[in-house]
């Protein structure tokens, strides 16, 4: 287990020391691939039975294995995508070799911090890891490889809001610890595994208070409205592969924290308390993001709001609860982690091609770049929750859970918001995809991008293959949840043991 934490750190260090840009790229890729290889046994063994090391500080079970797998997968695809992306940026002079070194080092550190979140058993350690993700990714956004006022603004807001939020999460963690001391004596428990065992004995009032702080805290980080405000700024200003990571998995790692807390809070407070809070946060998130998606004029921000929407849906799923609701929520995490990065990758390419993130400046992607356009189209429809793509299935599962519990108002509002989202996404991306390509960046930039495509064939092939594979899995998951995912999710539900 330790090795998978070490590999990204080592990769980061090596990347920072190298001077040749191509070498850095491929070292980073090798690091990501190695990480994938080494993580396999860890993930598989965690699926079958939980493991603890370092005196219970680190721990893996199915749920952490699940999220870890997603982190590693997205880390890998981001590393692949980064090669072509950064080489293009380098070509057009938006970054330099120092920027690249910093970028790749931080990228792998970022992966490390997220992995740490998933394996932390100690809730305070988890908090440390989450805060570390904030710091690393804020630097990635603000200083990734280019210093721009907007990026700094976004990073500042990101770090301030998330740190403030997360401070409350720590307070919640302390209060949890405090509650546990009443049960365990002076040496209270902070390990999730121990807390889980005594969860039913904890003082409900204290745990309620703890959960409120944790929810607001990690909720800020997970992008739940109304404390989501950093998210659109940070996602839109980050480099596309980083946006993909932020959106696809970082939010989920924060939500992972909430889920861990739910499973220890719920036995004492009863399901309605946590459930209702999560449902309310979920619905507000979906509602607010739907409205913003509708009037959005910047496609990266649109995607960011869509992330808020999807986090809302996940929260709704967990809030509705029951095996079906949680199944839907966990499936949704996976689906969102496939669709959203695909869209951010695509938007990165579009941005490189058109030189703008404003929807009105982009036209006719389908005719100028048919493959990319098609992938974007698939991604957009998937995000909009349209069958036969993956997200529909998980959304429908969550809806069914809601109906099972008779939450008609929730179901109705959800459907209403989803329609608005659908309209917003389709009109936004429709404007970009159709028509004739007129808004191309200046001649020279276009030439360079063409030249870039010729000179760096391999990265392009890699990127395109990755994106095609993601798109195909989006479609495949719309028709069938493979057995291994199915059994993983079921094990996760058992691990959480919620209701």
């Amino acid at each position: 287990m330790i090795e998978i934490l070490l590999i990204p750190v080592i990769t980061a260090a090596v990347c920072y020391m190298l001077k040749n840009y191509r070498l850095i790229s491929y070292v980073s890729l090798t690091g990501a691939v190695t990480l994938t290889g080494f993580s396999m046994p860890v993930i598989f063994s965690s699926m079958s039975s939980p493991h603890e090391i370092m005196g219970g500080m680190l721990y893996t079970d199915a749920l952490s294995g699940y999220i870890m797998a997603l982190v590693i997968f997205l880390g890998l695809v981001s590393a692949i995508y980064s090669i072509g992306y950064l080489e293009h940026e380098l070509k057009v002079g938006l970054t330099d070799i120092a920027g690249m070194r910093r970028y790749y080092a931080l990228l792998h550190l970022f992966i490390f911090t997220m992995l740490l979140v998933t394996v932390a058993n100690n809730l305070a350690l988890m908090w440390i890891a989450v805060e570390a993700t904030t710091i690393v990714s804020a630097v990635l956004i603000g200083f990734g490889f280019r210093k721009r006022a907007l990026a700094i603004e976004a990073a500042w807001k990101y770090i301030i809001l998330c740190t403030v939020g997360i401070t409350f999460a720590l307070l919640g963690t302390f209060i949890t610890y405090y509650a546990s001391t009443a049960v365990m004596g002076t040496e209270g428990a902070l390990n999730w595994t121990e807390l889980k065992e005594i969860a039913a004995k904890l003082n409900p009032s204290t745990m309620k208070l703890a959960f409120i702080f944790v929810l607001v805290g990690y909720g800020t980080k997970a992008g739940l409205a109304p404390v989501h405000n950093w998210l659109p700024d940070a996602h839109s200003q980050a480099p596309s592969p980083i946006s993909a990571l932020l959106s696809g998995i970082l939010l989920n790692t924060a939500f992972y924290g909430i889920m861990r807390f739910v499973s220890i809070v719920e036995p004492s407070t009863g399901e309605f308390f946590t459930g209702n809070l999560l449902i309310i946060f979920g619905l507000i998130s979906i509602g607010i993001s739907s409205v913003f998606i509708l009037v959005q004029d910047n496609y990266k921000r649109l995607l960011a709001y869509s992330s808020i929407e999807h986090m809302g849906i996940i929260s709704l799923g967990v809030g509705i609860g029951g095996p079906v609701g949680i199944y839907g929520a966990l499936l949704h995490i996976l689906n969102h982690a496939l669709s959203k990065p695909l869209m951010f990758f695509a938007s990165g390419k579009i941005q490189a091609h058109y030189g703008s993130t404003r929807i009105e400046n982009v036209n006719g992607v389908l005719s100028s770049m048919p493959l990319l356009g098609t992938l974007t189209f698939i991604g957009a429809l998937s995000l909009a929750g349209t069958p036969p793509f993956n997200i529909f299935l998980s959304e429908f599962t969550i809806l069914k859970a809601g109906v099972d519990k008779g939450l008609w108002l929730v179901v109705g509002l959800f459907l209403l918001f989803v329609i608005i989202v659908f309209y917003g996404i389709l009109s936004g991306f429709g404007k970009m995809l159709f028509g004739t390509a007129t808004g191309l960046k200046s001649e020279s930039a276009e030439e360079q991008s063409v030249k870039g495509a010729e000179t760096f064939k391999l990265p392009n092939v890699l990127t395109n293959t990755t994106m095609i594979v993601m798109a195909l899995s989006i479609i495949a998951l719309g028709f069938k949840v493979p057995d291994f995912i199915d059994s993983t999710i079921k094990t996760c539900i058992n691990v959480l043991g919620i209701r």
């Binding site: 405000n229 607010i288 409205v291 509708l294 009037v295 529909f392 389709l426 949840v481």
Partner: protein
């Protein structure tokens, strides 16, 4: 052979058609549509099994532990499979020639095959999830096809289509959930078995939701606005499928939920459907009259015909609620018969329009004219389509409308005064619709095919390729056959009708439709034979009376003025002017006359006339709603004003509220 195998073989044909189409081999690509037509044949065989054999479970696989795919079929599915198969066969043959010089045809062939498969999937879905996934796949693929030419106009049409469909789907999801919640089952057969557990008012709510949800797809007024935009935007072979069968899946869904699963409801369900049908048919054809874009015109006619179909189905529901099963069966036969017919003639007309546009490169009828001379086959088939859609004997549209009239007149047999009054009024609406449709197609055919070419588009055009003509010929022939042998068609319909109403409705003699309830009879074949015999007799008679006479060809009557020009012909706008004036309360026409003078007010240099009708539903229903939503969204947007302090404030306020109320 096992009936399932026909499905597998058919699906295999379509899938291989889809794959072949994507192969980068131009020679092989051309086989796509041949594969699709073979698939259609295979499904047609399957449909016969479904129609005449007991309900069939085809296969089921699990999607996730919570959901599974179930495909099954009964007579109702079988009927719709048959409709889809017939149209698919001829459209596929048409497409071989039609897509020859179309750009990006690989993708198109791929989507085409998927589209057809998804429609089959919809009508054979056995549970909620399967239905929804198939349904939305169908919508998404057709959305891709609508936006296929990637122009901004198509994109807008596609957007409206996709969003409205999505709203419809939301209603469908909700109604499915209501069924699921009250019965505890997700597959249709179990829901049907447990339907008594659903309270009556919930049933009524489900009914209303199914009207809205499926009606959006079917294009009933006022949920039709996507239809005249989306259908013209798609390539013509796709429009034929969309108009011919895709909107019928809305009818399928509605019948499946409201008549099959829920059995029967109170009288007002049927009355409501009749009213919707009447309004849709009249307004649909009225709007069609004002269109000069040939495909938009046809699209509005789809609204009209859906209305006519609903008159039949509404009648069936109404009679069923009174326990008049025979009458119900007659009405349902009328509705289904028209469903089949509409698929045929609307498919034919869209293919004809496609053929014309292929040759003239314009959709505007005012730029056509005289095409019947350069495109004789297309002209003939379009004429046959026009006669069929106007319900003129001896073609198929006539039979189904006649049956609809019979069913509506039979309303006097029902015990309730509402039914008694509403049904003849439905009949009157149908009469008005029929007359308007005739006017519309005199215009459509007369302006585009007759007269002298109105613009350079219509000059030097060539007849379409043999495969396109074959595709149309099949449909034209079927229009005639289904028109003169109604008995055979009713045999195909009756299993489905029996399942839904518990009666076969009526007996049909050889070549004569006989309704014992009204002692009414109809024999289209006799009408046809009479006309043929009398024609021969007339020719003989004339020969005897006058012998052979000289025929001189001259110019048309020009009042003795110098030569007529094409611009002096009656235009489509002029043709419909009286109707525009008579129905001005509905059209709310706007006209603008711009005159520029050389010497005011005596010497006019030019007069520019422009006129349009107000799209009532868009302007007074949809526009205000979208404007409101956008305004509201604009207000909400201020929440994200960019001020970090404000955001921190949100955190503080959220926390305080949670602390106060959360505990």
């Amino acid at each position: 052979m096992n009936p399932q195998n026909y499905l597998y073989i058919g699906a295999l044909f379509f899938l291989s058609g889809a794959v072949v189409s994507l192969l980068p081999l131009p020679k092989v690509k051309n086989y796509t549509y041949i594969l699709s037509s073979l698939g259609a044949v295979s499904f047609a065989v399957l449909s016969l099994f479904l129609l005449f054999a007991p309900p069939l479970n085809i296969f089921s696989i699990s999607i996730s532990p919570i959901f599974e795919f179930i495909f099954c079929g009964d007579a109702l599915s079988g009927f719709f499979v048959m409709v889809i198969s017939i149209l698919t066969l001829s459209v596929s043959i048409f497409s071989i020639g039609y897509t020859k010089d179309i750009g990006n045809k690989g993708l198109k062939g791929f989507l085409y095959n998927l589209f057809i498969l998804s429609m089959y999937a919809v009508v054979m879905s056995g549970n909620i999830v399967t239905f929804l996934i198939s349904w939305e796949t169908m919508s998404v693929v057709s959305y891709f096809l609508v936006t296929f030419d990637r122009s901004e106009k198509s994109a807008k049409a596609g957007l409206i289509y996709a969003v409205m469909t999505h709203v419809g789907t939301a209603f469908i999801i909700t109604l499915f959930f209501m069924l699921y919640k009250n019965t505890g089952h997700m597959d249709f057969s179990n829901i049907k078995a447990a339907i008594t557990e659903v309270p009556d008012d919930v049933k009524s709510l489900i009914f209303i939701f199914s009207v809205i949800g499926f009606g959006t797809k079917a294009g009933i007024i006022p949920l039709h606005t996507w239809l005249p935009k989306a259908h013209p935007a798609a390539p013509s072979n796709i429009s034929a499928l969309m108009s011919g069968v895709m909107i019928k899946t809305g009818i399928y869904g509605f019948v499946r939920i409201s008549m099959d699963i829920m059995g029967h409801g109170p009288e007002w369900w049927g009355v409501m459907i009749i009213v919707i049908g009447a309004v849709s048919s009249i307004l649909g054809v009225l709007y069609a009259l004002m269109e000069h874009d040939i495909k938009r015109l046809l699209a509005y006619h789809s609204v009209e015909n859906i209305g006519i179909i609903l008159l039949g189905i509404g009648g069936a529901m109404m009679f069923k609620s009174h326990g008049l099963y025979t009458l119900s069966a007659i009405a349902l036969i009328a509705g289904f018969y028209h469903t089949l017919n509409h698929a045929l003639f609307k498919g034919l007309l869209f293919l004809g329009a496609g053929s014309v546009m292929h040759a003239t490169h314009t959709k505007n009828m005012e730029d056509m004219g005289g095409l019947i001379k350069s495109m004789p086959y297309t002209g003939l088939f379009f004429l046959i389509g026009s006669i069929s859609i106007c319900a003129l004997p001896p073609f198929n549209g006539f039979v189904s409308e006649w049956l609809t009239y019979q069913a509506l007149i039979l309303g006097f047999k029902s015990p309730s005064i509402t039914s008694k009054i509403i049904s003849p009024l439905g009949g009157a609406a149908l009469a008005l619709t029929g007359a308007l449709a005739a006017a519309c197609f005199v215009k459509a055919f007369g302006i585009s095919f007759l007269g002298i070419p109105r613009s350079s588009h219509a000059e030097n055009v060539k007849e379409s390729s043999p495969s396109m003509i074959t595709g149309m010929a099949i449909l034209a022939l079927l229009c005639l056959i289904f028109g003169i042998f109604p008995g055979a068609v009713i045999t195909l319909l009756s299993p489905a009708v029996f399942n839904l109403t518990g009666s076969y409705g009526m007996l049909s003699g050889k070549g004569v439709l006989h309704i014992s309830e009204t002692v009414a009879a109809l024999s289209p074949v006799a009408i046809l034979i009479t006309m043929v015999i009398t024609s021969v007799a007339t020719i003989v008679f004339i020969f005897i009376v006058s012998g052979k006479k000289k025929v001189t060809y001259g110019g048309s009557w020009d009042c003795g003025m110098p030569a007529l020009t094409p611009r002096m012909q009656y235009s489509a706008t002029a043709f419909t002017k009286p109707i525009r004036m008579i129905f001005k309360r509905i059209y709310l026409p706007r006209r603008e006359l711009r005159v520029s003078y050389i010497v005011k007010p005596f010497f006019v240099k030019s007069i520019k006339y422009s006129g349009e009708i107000t799209p009532f539903f868009e302007k007074y229903i949809y526009e205000p709603v979208t404007v409101f939503i956008h305004k509201f969204a604009g207000k909400v947007r201020l929440l994200q004003s960019g001020s970090l302090h404000l955001y921190l404030g949100y955190i503080l306020i959220t926390l305080i509220l949670l602390l106060i109320f959360g505990n």
